[in-house]
Each structure stands twice: as structure tokens, then as C-alpha cells.
């Protein structure tokens, strides 16, 4: 019996030829290799060993702070606030954003402390955050996440990542390893310089008398289409006398008591940059004589414990911008947006637990 006398296998009535089967397998194999290879590379399954990804930031926060189920991976400790922004119309000179027309825009916000430990004790030296969402949840929203610092410590995502790793508390002392800190500062002179600037303006007693800054530069687009580089800040208007509070939530308890006794107010100042100013480096300050427009007053009238449906569930992504405000080329901005989104996704699916700051437990 010779091989040729065997009946040929068929598919759909068509006899199969070895040459065509091999050709077909090669074509399908080639297509799948390119198609699935592209998906694996794009999806970060291969080729991510030497690049920073949002996921790597999330892992690093967990490595430094332990599992913080349901909380923001950075600025984990916070409290929700609400109020409004009264625009005086002056901001229209540089931006066509609706928020700068004369009138009132509702605002949701959140005071926070930097760091990924949702139950860390309040420290005066910890950077204070204020996230705001103007006009939430409308279509022309403006979100911003600000700090009470004159400049940001890092100019690049790599710098932030390295600083995060160096900040891990040592098991013995509970403080960052001095050697790791020294090695980090040697590798990142821009941070060493920024720390010097930050050290020159010590923090105020509390949230209520803190000046909060955008730190990154943004472009404001006017009605006529002109683009102005802007850094904004919220400057406290006659801050109330500081309340003496103590304990692990001293800073938060104080601001809870202050808002209970009366609204807190800040002026929104738009500082206009010159083309020669550092527009894409948040570690560098602008000359002090830059013109600033007083665009109106932010008033915070209420404060509440983080819970479902309030500021807890808002991602204060600094690139949720209304028409009339655009991002600059600052290399921190897109990574901030990407990592905030990753943090939001992870915490959204994690079980939630009670936040450290409970407004109802703060005695009058």
C-alpha cells in the first residue's frame, strides 16, 4: 500500500494539500504573533522591565505604606469640603473658561495630607493638599490638586518615584533610612534645590491659613485665542485664629472646628508667567514680581467625613480642565493624570473602610 493510495483528508469537501496547510499555518501564525505580540507589548505584559508605568507607582505606594484598602494611594488621609467660587470676572482677561465669568460656581473639595498611609498622624511638616472640583459634575468642570508648598520637590516622574521609594520608613526607627535619603538627594539635585526653597517658607499652623498652589504651569486661553502661562494659588483671606488641637488628627480637627464656626475663604490668584520663566519645571519658582490677577473668592462652607458620593469618590485629576485652560509641557502632568486614574481604578474595586477623620467625632 503506497501513501498516495490513502484517501486525502478533506475539509468542507475540499481535499487538503500539505503545501496549502503549511502556508495557511504560517499566515495565521504570523498574524497572531504580530497581533497578540502588539497587545502584549502595549498591555505591558512584555517589555516593561525598564519603564515606569502607573501600575509600578501603585505597587510602590503599597510597598511603602502597606495595603490601604479603598483609600487613595497617595494623599490617603483627608476630609471632604464643599462651597462655592465667586468670580469677579477679572480672570476673563486671560481665560475664556466659564468659571471666570462673573458669578458663582459650586465647588466640591478635599483637604488631605501627602502620603499613602490613610491613618498617619498629622504632622505640621507633611505637605497639605487641597483638591477642588469647580462645577462638578458638569461638562465644563475644572479640577485641581494643589499643595501648600512654594514649589514641587520633583521635576520628573522618575524623581517622584525615587523619592517615594526613599521615603519608606525603616522598621527600627519609623523614619526614612538616612542613607537612602542621601543617595536620593545626590541623584536628584533638582529636589535638593527645591527642598531649600520649601524650607524657606515654613508651614502655617493649619489648613485654613495655608496658601495652596497649582505648582505645575497651565496655559490659559483667552476669548481672542491668546495663550498665557499661568500658575494659580489660593491665598487665605483673614484666616480665623488657629484652634488648639492635639492628637493624631490635630490639623484636620482644627479645620473641622473652623468651618463649623464660619466659612473659610481664599482669593484665587492667577500668576502670569513670562516666556523666559520655567514653564515645564515645577521645582523652580517664578520671579516674585510676576503680575497676579485676583480672579475671585473661594468660600468653603461645609465639611464632612469622606463617604460614598462626596469628594471621596472624585479623582482630582489635574487634567480635567474646562475649555479655556490647557496643560503645559510640564512632564509631570500626564503621569499625574495616569497614576491618579490607576489609583482611582484600584481603590474603586477595593473594600472600603472607615476613614481616620470622622467629622462627627470632633468635639465642639
Amino acid at each position: 500500500m503506497t501513501p498516495s493510495s490513502k484517501p486525502r483528508p478533506t475539509w468542507g469537501g475540499v481535499p487538503l494539500e500539505r503545501r496549502r496547510i503549511l502556508l495557511g499555518m504560517a499566515a495565521i501564525g504570523g498574524f497572531l504573533a504580530v497581533d497578540l505580540g502588539a497587545v502584549a507589548y502595549a498591555g505591558g505584559w512584555i517589555g516593561t522591565a525598564h519603564r515606569l508605568t502607573p501600575h509600578i507607582f501603585i505597587k510602590a505606594f503599597e510597598w511603602v505604606n502597606g495595603k490601604q484598602s479603598g483609600f487613595r494611594k497617595n494623599h490617603a488621609k483627608g476630609v471632604a469640603v464643599a462651597g462655592y467660587f465667586d468670580s469677579n470676572g477679572n480672570g476673563r482677561e486671560v481665560s475664556r473658561a466659564a468659571v471666570f465669568r462673573s458669578g458663582r460656581t459650586p465647588v466640591l473639595g478635599r483637604f488631605s495630607l501627602a502620603g499613602g498611609n490613610a491613618h498617619a498622624a498629622d504632622m505640621a511638616a507633611t505637605a497639605r493638599g487641597l483638591g477642588l472640583a469647580f462645577g462638578f459634575p458638569g461638562g465644563a468642570q475644572w479640577r485641581t490638586a494643589m499643595l501648600n508648598l512654594p514649589v514641587f520637590p520633583d521635576s520628573s516622574p522618575q524623581g517622584f518615584y525615587d523619592r517615594l521609594l526613599a521615603s519608606k520608613p525603616s522598621p527600627g526607627t519609623g523614619k526614612p533610612d538616612p542613607e537612602a535619603t542621601a543617595a536620593f538627594l545626590a541623584a536628584h539635585p533638582e529636589t535638593a534645590k527645591a527642598m531649600k526653597i520649601i524650607g524657606q517658607s515654613p508651614p502655617t499652623p493649619g489648613f485654613a491659613d495655608s496658601t495652596f498652589r497649582s505648582l505645575n504651569t497651565f496655559y490659559f486661553i483667552s476669548e481672542s485665542g491668546s495663550r498665557t502661562p499661568v500658575r494659580w494659588s489660593l491665598v487665605p483671606v483673614t484666616p480665623p485664629p488657629p484652634r488648639t488641637s492635639s492628637g493624631p488628627n490635630a490639623l484636620f480637627d482644627a479645620v473641622v472646628r473652623q468651618i463649623r464656626s464660619g466659612p473659610l475663604q481664599w482669593k484665587l490668584m492667577l500668576t502670569l508667567g513670562a516666556p523666559s520663566d520655567p514653564l515645564d519645571d515645577a521645582t523652580l519658582s517664578w520671579p516674585a514680581d510676576r503680575r497676579a490677577i485676583d480672579a475671585g473668592t473661594l468660600t468653603l462652607t461645609s465639611i464632612e467625613t469622606e463617604r460614598a458620593g462626596n469628594a471621596r469618590d472624585i479623582n482630582f485629576d489635574p487634567l480635567v480642565l474646562p475649555p479655556g485652560i490647557e496643560r503645559s509641557d510640564d512632564p509631570l502632568l500626564s503621569p499625574r493624570s495616569a497614576v491618579y486614574a490607576a489609583s482611582y481604578r484600584v481603590r474603586a474595586r477595593e473594600p472600603k473602610s472607615a476613614p481616620a477623620v470622622n467629622v462627627d467625632e470632633v468635639a465642639l
Binding site: L16, G24, L32, P137, Q141, A338
Partner: protein, 195 residues
């Protein structure tokens, strides 16, 4: 008898081809879906490119939604040409199932993406100017379900598209049954008339 004018130069007569409109829709969808998937997978792993790619991804998604709705209308109004005789009964069932799965995934994925951004309370803006209304309430639990679904549907799309292309290549190359040519445009010479 049929009064159809047979194209003697091509093996596939007009009745064995999809209509020009259907073919156009098909290849447009193919380009858009490959782009949306690759951009989507890339953007969530690329810090510097995230913001720009997100805008493109959402705009491509909006286009896919529009094209798929038009395609479904077109599919209902135009019956596709008969399969080559090489498609048996069992395989025919698989073909029908995979076609329906593709349409369902192509329709669901942009809607889930749109709803998930809505549920996070973030405005949905496409092509830089067009603002779409929210289609889900602001709710982090709703967001989470939709966000995870968006990833699962993306992987399902990769799998179904890979199976779809592999099956067409197997038919066209191994069986030489002209499966692919039902969907191609003839540009230039038409001498490659194998069945």
C-alpha cells in the same frame, strides 16, 4: 433566470461579494478597532502618552459606536452573500455566533467606555470639542464594574478578532475558497481568479 450581469473577469460574481458599502464599513471598523485596542492598552501603561492617547482613544471609540450603529442598520437591510460551499453546517453555526459576538462587542465596548467615564463624574469630550452627555450616574461602584468590564471586553474583542481573522485566512489559503475575496476591493488588475 437571473438578469444579473456576470463579471466574467472575476471569479466572485457580484452576488458572492458584500456590497461596496458593507465592505467599506468592514474595513473602516477593522482599522478603528485595531487602533482603539492598541491605543487603549498602550495608554494605561505609558505615563507620558496617557493624556493625549486618552483623547484619541475616546474619539476613536465614539467613531466606532457611530459606525457600528450604521453597520447594524446596513446588516439588517442587506443580506450578506452566501458562504463558500466549504462552510459546513457546524462551522456555519460558529460563523453566525462569532458574527453576532463581534457586533455585540463592538456595540457594547464604546458604550461601556462612555458610561464608565460618566460614572466617574468626568466630562466626556471627544475630538477636542464635542461634549457627550453623561449616560451613567456619578457612582464609584458603578464606575468600578464598568471599568473592569471595559478591560474584559477588550480582551474578548482581541480573542474574537483573532479567531475571525484566523478563520478567514484558513479558508482563503488552505482551502482557496475565496472567503476573503468576498470582502476585498479589486484595485487594478483582476487576474487572480482562484476559487
Amino acid at each position: 433566470m437571473s438578469t444579473e450581469i456576470k463579471d466574467t473577469a472575476a471569479a466572485a460574481t457580484p452576488s458572492h461579494k458584500f456590497t461596496a458599502l458593507s465592505r467599506m464599513f468592514h474595513w473602516l471598523t477593522a482599522i478603528l478597532i485595531f487602533a482603539a485596542l492598541l491605543i487603549g492598552f498602550t495608554m494605561v501603561n505609558w505615563l507620558a502618552g496617557y493624556t493625549d492617547l486618552r483623547v484619541i482613544h475616546m474619539s476613536v471609540g465614539a467613531l466606532i459606536l457611530l459606525v457600528v450603529v450604521l453597520r447594524i442598520v446596513n446588516r439588517v437591510r442587506h443580506h450578506p452573500p452566501a458562504w463558500p460551499p466549504t462552510v459546513g453546517r457546524l462551522e456555519g453555526k460558529a460563523v453566525i455566533l462569532s458574527e453576532r459576538a463581534l457586533y455585540a462587542l463592538l456595540l457594547a465596548q464604546p458604550l461601556v467606555g462612555w458610561a464608565m467615564v460618566s460614572a466617574s463624574g468626568t466630562p466626556v469630550r471627544v475630538f477636542g470639542v464635542l461634549r457627550l452627555p453623561p449616560i451613567a450616574p456619578f457612582n464609584i461602584d458603578v464606575f468600578s464594574v464598568l471599568r473592569e468590564a471595559h478591560s474584559i471586553l477588550a480582551y474578548l474583542l482581541v480573542a474574537v478578532v483573532a479567531a475571525h481573522v484566523s478563520a478567514v485566512l484558513a479558508h482563503s489559503i488552505v482551502l482557496s475558497d475565496g472567503m476573503l475575496r468576498r470582502m476585498t476591493f479589486h484595485i487594478g488588475r483582476r487576474e487572480r481568479s482562484k476559487i
